[in-house]
């Protein structure tokens, strides 16, 4: 049963990551590959605050999200002052630099990582309650992203993505909208990291490497960019498929590459045959409750 709980939590965490990444790359049109490191920063911050400073776990989880958000603003602000293109370059440097920093700092446990992270809810109420909490957070994040996308703010995001200069000429401050979206998406990733840390109780920098951003991106692209439910389907599909393959009892030398091929193959197939993903976005933005698909 523990296996099922672990898989359910991982799927829910990837739903959170894919949905928050969809907010950044899909709705916001911002290209970044630093999502894994914000996931990691949330995990490390919450783990260290709870373990080493005795901060109550609920507060440390929230602090993990806030820490990820603050660092995302520090990273995005200088890049977005110039142009959105610089965000990609900044995100590569930030992702690689932070991983090296975590690997080489003593208080982060270096390459060995952080173990003995205080558990949350599980010792008192059992694993089912923690699973329910993570599922509830995942659902909350999906609904939050959906609400934002179809709100008056979502209208502004759509317009900004269409034509930033024309948008600015109307008096709209595109830079702050981009920074806000990026900060919120990164904070949500940090929240996911903190939830991960207090369940699995061990984190290491290898879990947040740059390769993970391609996994999250694949979930968003296969599921459907700019749709609230697409990343959910993408995350579930791409978490279950690799797990299902393990039941084929293939030798590890075949299994590893096969799982890699699965991700690459799916991206290629979807790029050529269904570029909109499994759930397709509507061509025109609609306000919530208008009965149309969102843009």
């Amino acid at each position: 049963m523990d296996y099922v709980y672990s898989i359910t939590i991982l799927i829910s965490l990837f739903v959170i990551l894919a949905s928050s990444f969809n907010l950044i790359i899909g709705y916001g049109g911002l290209i970044s590959i630093a999502h894994p490191i914000f996931y990691g920063l949330g995990a490390y911050a919450s783990a260290l605050l709870a373990r080493d400073l005795g901060v109550p776990v609920p507060l440390s989880i929230l602090s993990g999200a806030v820490f990820a958000m603050l660092l995302s603003v520090a990273m995005a602000l200088p890049a977005l002052r110039i142009s959105g293109d610089y965000l990609l370059i900044a995100s590569i440097g930030f992702q690689l630099g932070m991983i090296e920093l975590i690997k080489n700092l003593r208080f982060t446990g270096g390459a060995s990582g952080v173990s003995g992270i205080p558990a949350f809810l599980v010792p008192t109420f059992g694993r089912e309650v923690y699973v329910a909490l993570v599922i509830a957070v995942a659902l909350g994040v999906v609904l939050l992203v959906r609400w934002i996308a179809h709100s008056d703010y979502g209208r502004a995001i759509s317009a900004m993505r269409d034509d930033e200069q024309a948008f600015a000429a109307l008096g709209r401050d595109a830079k702050w909208i981009k920074v806000s979206i990026f900060a919120l998406g990164s904070a949500i990733a940090g929240l996911a990291g903190a939830l991960y840390a207090h369940y699995f109780r061990f984190v290491t920098s290898e879990q947040f490497e740059i390769l993970m951003s391609s996994t999250i991106l694949t979930m968003v692209v296969v599921g459907g960019l700019k749709t609230p439910w697409g990343p959910v389907i993408g995350a579930i599909l791409l978490q279950i498929l690799p797990q299902a393959i393990t039941f084929l009892n293939l030798p590890p030398v075949v299994l590893g590459p096969l799982q890699g091929l699965l991700f690459t193959g799916l991206v290629l197939i979807f790029m050529f045959l269904r570029p909109g993903g499994l759930v397709r976005a509507g061509s025109t933005w609609r306000a919530a409750g208008s009965g149309h698909g969102g843009a």
Binding site: D152, A159, Q165, A166, W285
Partner: protein
């Protein structure tokens, strides 16, 4: 009133604004004519803040616009349209207008997350205003259409309507009549006249001389980034040197 003083700008060796002095007065329509490459659209880009000027100053009702970004100038009441319309294709007609409100209520994510009720009430007022403007330009029934589904002339009208949402003190219209004919042409003339009559300083870049003649109180002739003449359109057309520069014969 918008006042431009000694404005200069060049891109490498190409001078797009050469020591330009110009005033756009409230309630008046100023035509900006000249051959392609004269610097008309570049002047709009400099005034609206798309490019920074190398030298000179711009004031709107005495308030300096120097150093302000595109969005900051728009918030002070400087609205513009674009030669190639540049509507937002992912938004409907009404949403293209709503996003143009000078004080759009939902620009802050913090406000959306923590004070959503404030946004809701302001948005309703803006939507009512957008519907009113759509009725004024004669396409009230196209509110929910995708902008890409509209004929080009109506897209141009929506571009002007979007700029009107700003309640601007100065309106820059970049070739509003290019590709516009029939009812849209008449609607455009009427709207521009109404806007000017409400006290807005209007400046129109246009190759349609008939439109300029019928609409503008006066016009300036630009060539190679310089203003060569200012007067009524009849006076400018009667000048053989300007005609030769414009038409090349």
């Amino acid at each position: 009133m918008l006042a431009i003083k000694s404005l200069s700008k060049s891109f490498g060796g190409i001078v797009v604004a050469d020591n330009i002095d110009l005033e756009m007065r409230a309630g008046r329509i100023l035509g900006l004519i000249g051959p392609n490459g004269a610097g008309k659209t570049s002047l709009f880009n400099l005034v609206s803040g798309l490019y920074p000027a190398h030298a000179g100053s711009i004031t709107l009702d005495g308030q300096s616009l120097d150093g302000l970004a595109l969005h900051q100038r728009a918030r002070l009441g400087l609205a513009r349209t674009w030669q190639h319309v540049r509507l937002f294709p992912s938004l409907s007609v009404i949403d293209n207008l709503i996003i143009g409100a000078r004080h759009y209520p939902a620009e802050s994510l913090v406000k959306l997350l923590f004070r959503p009720s404030l946004i809701g009430s302001a948005a309703k007022t803006i939507e009512a205003k957008a519907q009113d403007i759509l009725a004024r330009i004669g396409i009230p029934h196209s509110a929910d259409k995708s902008v890409g589904d509209l004929p080009y002339g109506q897209q141009k009208l929506v571009g002007v309507a979007r700029a009107l949402m700003n309640d601007a003190r100065c309106l820059l219209l970049d070739e509003p009549m290019a590709g516009v004919e029939g009812q849209a042409y008449e609607a455009m003339q009427r709207i521009v006249r109404e806007v000017a009559a409400s006290g807005v300083a209007v400046c129109v870049v246009e190759h349609n001389i008939a439109f300029i003649r019928d609409l503008c109180d006066e016009a300036v002739f630009m060539f190679q980034g310089r203003i060569l003449a200012r007067g009524s359109i009849a006076e400018l057309i009667a000048n053989p040197e300007l005609t030769e520069l414009y038409f090349g014969h």
